[in-house]
C-alpha cells in the first residue's frame, strides 16, 4: 500500500486518461441532479403555485437558473482544476516543480472555494424566481412579502445544505490526486503553498450547516403562504421536505466520512507497518490529502519515517563499513599468513609472558614443531629453546642468553649463528637468527619476534670448500718439499757446479719457495674462518709471545731483529696464537721488504686509551726497507691486494698477510695502522687491550 516510495504512480490509481476536471464535473453534477429535481417541487408546493401558467413560468425560470448555476460551477471547477490536469498530462514523475506546486495548491484549495461558490449559487437561485412570480402575476400569485421571506429561508437552508455536501463531494474526488501530488512534491522537496483549512473549522461549519439547514427549511415551510397546519397539502409538502433532508444527510455524511476517515486510516496503517514490520527502508510516504490536522499528522509521520530511514541508512553504512574493515583485516591477515608461510625463514613470535604467539610453516619445518598445537603454550614447555646451542656447539648457560629472551629485554639481534637440534629429523640445523622486541603503542615491550634462516646447506658447502682447500694445499706441500729438498741438496753437494746449472737450480728453489708461500696463504685464509669462531680471550704475556715468534724465525733473519721490551711483563688480553700470527706476519713482511738486510725493530709499550680505563699495548714493527707507494697505501689491508706486484720486490704470496693481521687484530678489540715513506721504510703498529681491569 505504501510501497511507492520513490514511485507514487505505481501505488495509487494510475493517472486518468480523460481530463481530471471533467470527471469531477461529471460526478458533481450527477450527485447534484436529484436535488436539482426535488427542491423545485418542494418550492412549487411551498409557494402554492398550482396554475399551469404559473408552474410553467416558475419551472422555466428554475431550469434556466439551474443550468446557469451548473455552468458556472462547471467553469469554476474546470478553471480551478486546470493545474491538476496539466500535472496529470505530464508524466507525473518528471514534472517541473512549478507545475507540482500549482497542482498541489489547486488540489488543496479547490474543494473549499468551489463548494462555497456552489452553495452561494444555491442560495441565490430561488429569490429571483419568487420575484419573477410576483412581477408576472399569472394565476393566484403568492402573497408578497410572506412568499419572499419563505424563499429567503429556503435559500438559507439550501446554502447550508449545499455547502457541506459540495465540499465533501469535491474533496472526496480531489483527495487521491492531492495525496499523489503531495508525494511527488515531497520527493522533490517542494513545499506546496496552500492555505490550510482546519479540520476543526470544517467540523464547526458542518455542525452549523446541520443545524441551520433543517431549521430554516422548516421555518420556510411554516412561513410559506401556501401552507399552515390547516392547509390540506401540508403533510404532503412536509413529506417531500423530509425526503430531501433525509436524502441529503447520509450522502453528505458518507462523503464527509470518506474525507475525514480515509486519511486517518492511512496514517494508522503506516504506523502499524512500522511497528509490526520494523522494516523502515521499505516504507513509503503518506499522501497529504488536506492541509489540515490530518495532513499535519501525515507530514509528521513522513518526517518520522524520513528520520528513521536516515538513521537506518547511517546504521547500514556503519555496518557495511565495519564489515568492510573486518573483511579487510581478515584478507590482510590471510595475505600476511601466506607471505609468512611462503618465506624460507622460520618466523617465531612470543608474547611478553614467553608464550608462543606465531609460528610460520618454515618455522614448523625447521624447528620440528606443530604450530596449531604449540600456539599459546609457554616456550619452556615446548622445549625448542633448550634444543638451541651456540654456534660453537656449546649450550647456553643462562636462559636469558637465548635470542628471544634477549629480544624480550629490548635487544635487537642481527644474524647471530646458532645450532638447533631438530627433534623430528634428529639432525643439527645451522641457523642465522635475527630477533627484535615487539613494542605496543606506548612503547612497552609486548613480545618478541625472531627470524631464523636455515643455513645448514650453506655451512655444509662452506665446510666442504674449506676441506677441499685444506686437502689440496696439504697435498701440494709434499711435491714442493721434494723440489726444494733436491734442489738444495744438489746446490750444496757439488761445489764445482757450472754457474748456468747453479742458476737453474736456484730458480727451482725460488719457485718452490713461492709455491710454498701461496699454499701457506691459502691455508691461512681458510684457517681464519675457523679460528675466528674459537678466538680466545685470556691473559697473554706479550714478551713471551714476541720471544716465541722470534725463535721461529730462521737463524739469519733472527739476527736482524732487535727487540725492545719494557721492564716487567706486559699482560694483554687476547688469543696468544693470534697475536703471535699477527706479529709473525708483520715481521715476515719487514724482513722480506728490507732487501739490503737492514735491521727490524720490534717494540711494545702500554698506552692509555681514552675511552676506557683498561688501556692497551701498542706493538710496533719498524723496518728501513722499500716502503709502500703512496697510491697503494689505502688498499694495503684488502684481501689479495699486493702492493709490490710487478716491482723488483715481488716475492710471491697472494696478498693475504695484512688482511689476516687486520681481521685478527680487530677481532680482539685492537687496531692496526702504519706509517711508510717509499724508499726509506715502514712502521706497522697494532694494539691489544690490556688485561688489568
Amino acid at each position: 500500500m505504501y510501497r511507492q516510495g520513490n514511485s507514487h504512480a505505481r501505488g495509487d490509481a494510475a493517472p486518468p486518461r480523460r481530463a481530471f476536471s471533467l470527471r469531477v464535473i461529471a460526478y458533481a453534477i450527477a450527485v447534484e441532479l436529484p436535488y436539482g429535481a426535488l427542491v423545485p417541487l418542494a418550492y412549487l408546493r411551498m409557494m402554492g403555485i398550482h396554475a399551469p401558467a404559473g408552474r410553467t413560468l416558475a419551472l422555466s425560470l428554475i431550469a434556466a437558473i439551474f443550468v446557469a448555476k451548473t455552468a458556472l460551477v462547471a467553469i469554476a471547477l474546470r478553471q480551478s482544476l486546470r493545474p491538476i490536469d496539466r500535472w496529470c498530462r505530464d508524466a507525473p514523475g518528471a514534472s517541473d516543480p512549478e507545475i507540482i506546486r500549482r497542482a498541489g495548491r489547486a488540489a488543496y484549495e479547490t474543494p473549499i472555494r468551489v463548494a462555497t461558490l456552489w452553495a452561494v449559487l444555491w442560495g441565490l437561485a430561488y429569490p429571483p424566481v419568487t420575484a419573477a412570480l410576483h412581477l408576472f402575476p399569472g394565476n393566484s400569485p403568492p402573497p408578497w412579502p410572506r412568499a419572499m421571506v419563505a424563499t429567503v429561508l429556503l435559500s438559507i437552508g439550501c446554502f447550508a445544505a449545499a455547502l457541506p455536501l459540495a465540499y465533501s463531494v469535491l474533496a472526496r474526488f480531489v483527495l487521491s490526486v492531492a495525496g499523489r501530488i503531495s508525494l511527488a512534491a515531497r520527493e522533490r522537496g517542494i513545499t506546496i503553498p496552500a492555505q490550510s483549512s482546519s479540520l476543526a473549522a470544517r467540523l464547526v461549519t458542518l455542525a452549523i450547516s446541520l443545524a441551520v439547514a433543517p431549521t430554516s427549511w422548516m421555518a420556510a415551510m411554516i412561513v410559506s403562504p401556501a401552507l399552515g397546519y390547516q392547509a390540506p397539502d401540508t403533510w404532503t409538502t412536509l413529506a417531500l421536505f423530509s425526503l430531501v433532508a433525509i436524502a441529503w444527510t447520509p450522502v453528505c455524511a458518507a462523503f464527509l466520512a470518506g474525507v475525514v476517515a480515509a486519511p486517518f486510516r492511512r496514517v494508522g496503517a503506516a504506523i502499524e507497518h512500522i511497528v509490526v514490520r520494523g522494516d523502515v527502508d521499505a516504507l513509503g510516504r503518506l499522501p497529504v490529502h488536506f492541509k489540515d490536522e490530518i495532513g499535519g499528522l501525515a507530514e509528521g509521520v513522513n518526517s518520522m519515517v524520513d528520520r528513521l530511514q536516515e538513521t537506518s541508512a547511517r546504521i547500514r553504512a556503519y555496518l557495511a563499513e565495519r564489515e568492510r574493515l573486518l573483511s579487510d583485516a581478515a584478507r590482510r591477515a590471510a595475505e600476511l599468513q601466506t607471505v609468512l608461510d611462503n618465506i624460507v625463514e622460520a618466523v617465531i613470535a612470543i608474547d611478553a609472558e614467553g608464550r608462543l604467539a606465531l609460528l610460520n610453516a618454515s618455522g614448523e619445518r625447521i624447528l620440528g614443531l606443530d604450530a596449531s598445537a604449540s600456539r599459546g603454550r609457554p616456550c619452556a614447555e615446548l622445549g625448542f629453546q633448550a634444543r638451541l646451542r651456540r654456534a660453537d656447539g656449546s649450550a647456553f648457560t643462562h636462559e636469558r642468553d637465548r635470542p628471544l629472551a634477549r629480544a624480550l629485554e629490548g635487544e635487537i639481534i642481527v644474524q647471530e649463528a646458532q645450532i638447533y637440534a631438530n627433534p623430528e629429523t634428529s639432525s643439527d640445523v645451522f641457523l642465522r637468527t635475527s630477533a627484535a622486541p615487539i613494542r605496543g603503542e606506548s612503547g612497552a615491550i609486548i613480545g618478541a619476534v625472531a627470524v631464523a634462516r636455515d643455513v645448514t646447506e650453506m655451512v655444509q658447502i662452506e665446510q666442504m670448500k674449506e676441506q677441499f682447500i685444506r686437502v689440496a694445499a696439504h697435498e701440494l706441500k709434499t711435491p714442493v718439499a721434494i723440489m726444494k729438498g733436491y734442489s738444495l741438496a744438489l746446490l750444496r753437494g757439488s761445489a764445482d757446479l757450472p754457474p748456468a746449472r747453479r742458476r737453474m737450480l736456484e730458480a727451482v728453489d725460488r719457485g718452490a719457495d713461492r709455491m710454498s708461500r701461496i699454499v701457506e696463504d691459502i691455508l691461512a685464509v681458510s684457517q681464519l674462518t675457523m679460528d675466528m669462531a674459537k678466538m680466545r680471550s685470556e691473559p697473554v704475556d706479550l714478551g713471551q709471545v714476541a720471544r716465541v715468534t722470534l725463535d721461529a724465525l730462521p737463524a739469519a733473519a733472527r739476527g736482524r731483529v732487535r727487540l725492545s721490551a719494557p721492564v716487567g711483563a706486559l699482560v694483554a688480553c687476547g688469543d696468544a696464537e693470534r697475536i703471535r700470527q699477527v706479529l709473525s706476519i708483520l715481521l715476515d713482511n719487514a724482513l722480506k721488504y728490507s732487501p739490503r738486510g737492514g735491521a727490524v725493530d720490534v717494540s711494545f709499550a702500554p698506552s692509555p686509551r681514552a675511552e676506557d680505563e683498561r688501556g692497551e699495548a701498542i706493538v710496533s714493527v719498524r723496518d728501513s726497507g722499500v716502503g709502500i707507494a703512496r697510491d697503494k697505501q689505502e688498499r694495503i689491508f684488502e684481501l689479495f691486494f699486493r702492493a709490490h706486484t710487478d716491482t723488483p720486490h715481488d716475492y710471491g704470496g697472494m696478498g693475504v698477510g695484512l688482511y689476516l693481521a687486520k681481521r685478527m687484530t680487530t677481532r680482539q678489540g685492537g687496531r692496526i695502522w702504519f706509517e711508510s715513506v717509499e724508499g726509506s721504510g715502514t712502521t706497522f703498529h697494532f694494539t691489544v687491550p690490556l688485561d688489568r681491569p
Partner: protein
Amino acid sequence: MDGEMPENGAKVVLVVEDDEDLMHLVSMLLGACGYRVVAAGNGREALERVEGELPDLILLDMKMPVMGGAEFAWEFRARHAAKTPIIVVTAAADARRSAEAIHADGWLGKPFDPDALLATVRLHVDRLSTSAQ
C-alpha cells in the same frame, strides 16, 4: 757435509713416509750425514720394522695410508717402553699442534729446508746419546 761414519756405529733413523720421492730425498740427506735409514711406507710397516731393531730416532709423517702417524705413535709407545724421540714431519696446516697432539719431541713442516732437517735430527740424536752416557 759431515764426514762418513763407520757403518756399525751409525745411528739408526726410522723414516715413516708414504711418498717415495720424499723418502728417497730424506734417505739421501741422512745417509750423506752418516745415519742409517730404515724406511717404512706407513705406520703398520713401521711397527714391523721396529720389532727387529729399535731406531735412535723416528721421523714420522702424519697422513699415510693403512696406518697414520698418530696411530703409529700411540701403538709404538704402547708396545715399547723405549724413549725413542719422534719428530713429526707433516704438511698439516699447523705442524706444531699436530706434534703436540701426539706428544712428539719435535716437528718439521713440509716443505722443509734440508739444513733444518739435519739440524733437528742431530739435535735429538745427540741429546739422546748425551743423556744415555
